[in-house]
Symmetry: C2
């Protein structure tokens, strides 16, 4: 145990000596983050927050990883639909499946949420939770981003990985609060972000318990249970965490209410928006984008004093360096 104590000692020493956010330029956002973290972790000061209350929530798509030109779960859904099509000969004539299989998204989603609902149910329901996790794991191990030609799990933002680690080393508990499917994200969140499944909150479909040949399984049913987006995010936080975060990070209007809720508690709080301003290294989009629209939340950021990160100006690196594959 002397060895354990020494290991802890040297680990802490190493940590104290280096910049925990090397991929962030020394601009205002980095300074605001570090100032806030130092403030709430300093015992005996009025802004001190005890460790168990240091809850921080991160949106996923567009905040922790790339969401253009489609949500990663969107790519998964289309690939899944194609894989299942041979077993569903009626899809050739049936909307929204026929349009989607032809690649015509506009026609496919002409009926709006109803079409989305049908497609999600056809691709995400009817199997056990273990089977679904297996399907996602196999897909994400091989699928690649059309522009960057890298696995999606490598298109996570390096500055945000550093931020997650920095916050955890300061006693924060890091959560994902995303409109994405909770069981989709849980497959990769631990490896990609070091966030365990129980700290991933997302949209869900209904499930039921069943004994199959005496073996207990959880079956995914074709019905929406909860949409963790927009006003659903603070509800998801109340439901799953039961405590108001003191920091929240988002990038779109879907994060507006989470940011409002987080920054209206009694104590110190911090809201941040990632603004996609870098068409060369990633993408540039905001007020008019169909995916990740950032409009109201950008206006409110100015009024409420939320920090706005310009990816182009404030981030030295966007993605982690390429690995060998």
């Amino acid at each position: 145990m002397v060895i354990l104590a020494l290991v802890i000692f040297f680990a802490l020493s190493a940590l104290a000596g280096s910049d925990p956010l090397p991929s962030w330029n020394d601009t205002a956002p980095k300074q605001a983050i570090v100032t806030f973290v130092e403030k709430v972790t300093k015992e005996g000061t009025p802004d001190f927050v005890p460790a168990p209350e240091r809850i921080v929530t991160f949106d996923n798509d567009g905040t922790l990883w790339c969401e253009q030109p489609n949500y990663v779960q969107g790519f998964f859904t289309i690939d899944r639909l194609k894989a299942l099509a041979p077993q569903h000969s009626d899809w050739k004539e049936k909307e929204p499946f026929s349009s989607l299989l032809r690649g015509d998204l506009t026609a496919a989603f002409a009926s709006g949420t109803k079409a989305l609902d049908q497609i999600v149910m056809a691709t995400h329901a009817g199997m056990t939770t273990d089977e679904f996790a297996q399907i996602v794991a196999e897909w994400i191990a091989t699928a690649r981003h059309p522009k960057f030609n890298r696995p999606f799990t490598e298109l996570v933002y390096q500055p945000m990985l550093e931020l997650l680690a920095y916050l955890r080393s300061n006693g924060f508990k890091t959560f994902i609060v995303s409109g994405g499917g909770v069981e989709f994200m849980r497959v990769f969140a631990e490896k990609a972000y070091s966030i365990p499944p129980e700290q991933v909150i997302g949209s869900s479909i209904k499930e039921k318990f069943e004994l199959r040949d005496g073996n207990p399984v959880i079956v995914r049913l074709p019905a929406i249970d909860f949409i963790d987006d927009g006003p659903g995010k603070p509800v998801g936080i109340a439901k799953f965490i039961g405590r108001r975060p003191i920091m929240a990070f988002g990038n779109s209007d879907g994060d507006l209410q989470m940011l409002e809720y987080t920054t209206s508690g009694n104590g110190a709080s911090f809201g941040l928006i990632v603004h996609h301003t870098d068409p060369d290294r990633e993408y540039a989009y905001d007020r008019k984008s169909a995916i990740g629209r950032l409009d109201k939340a950008l206006d409110e950021a100015a009024q409420k004093g939320w920090t706005v990160v310009s990816m182009k100006a404030d981030w030295k690196e966007i993605f982690p360096p390429k690995t060998g594959n």
Copy 2:
């Protein structure tokens, strides 16, 4: 930091030298628990389980604290109903309220779940989550158990408090998975059990996000969202934790499916049932009890090799020593 390292060293040394479960007799259940924990925490052995996967779930009523002669939340509900009655003059004539206010539970619940639903909605909905937490906190600070004349939060089982601490010190993450209301339990779980709100899973009502005078609040709506009991427990585990526990503790048929689910994973697993066999120090009940019925799960424990604790034979102490109040 040398001091921190030394503190950790001595804390670990102290821990290693003493019995972590002093309120457990040296009978089979204690031995089974310790054997299992040593087995799954020993690196390099076939049964080793990495720390992030050491998920353990505890039922609350009857497993962590006393549930007789009524669930604590039952006492709360009746007190709440009485407190609200002056504002609802129609309750005098209206079932199930009139019977319940007269103390006639049989008549009140003649209509079964419908009556329960009406009563829960009248007492648990219509306020914000912050207001509800305040109501529960005030009630639990003053309410007392009719037999033991102690606050309910002192009627937690001392052996289970030791077990929770022992498991956490071995890298387990401790969760409550209870049929009780999640926002009811979260008010006291951290203080009573050192289990933070985000590790408490329970039944819930629907909620919505609202801006009140520009201030974001979560409002509790009069509609059931999720019943975390019986077959709902493994569903709650899948929904909130997203990972199969390797240990589960319960005391009634409401825990049967959680025990089945936990003990049917691929690796080592452990199921335990607390059998209430001590009419002198607590209560004795099982197969015929209206509250906490233990019938099917007791039969299945024998078949499946789950450990059964007899409170009378296996526990030296039931409750923590009285404090001064």
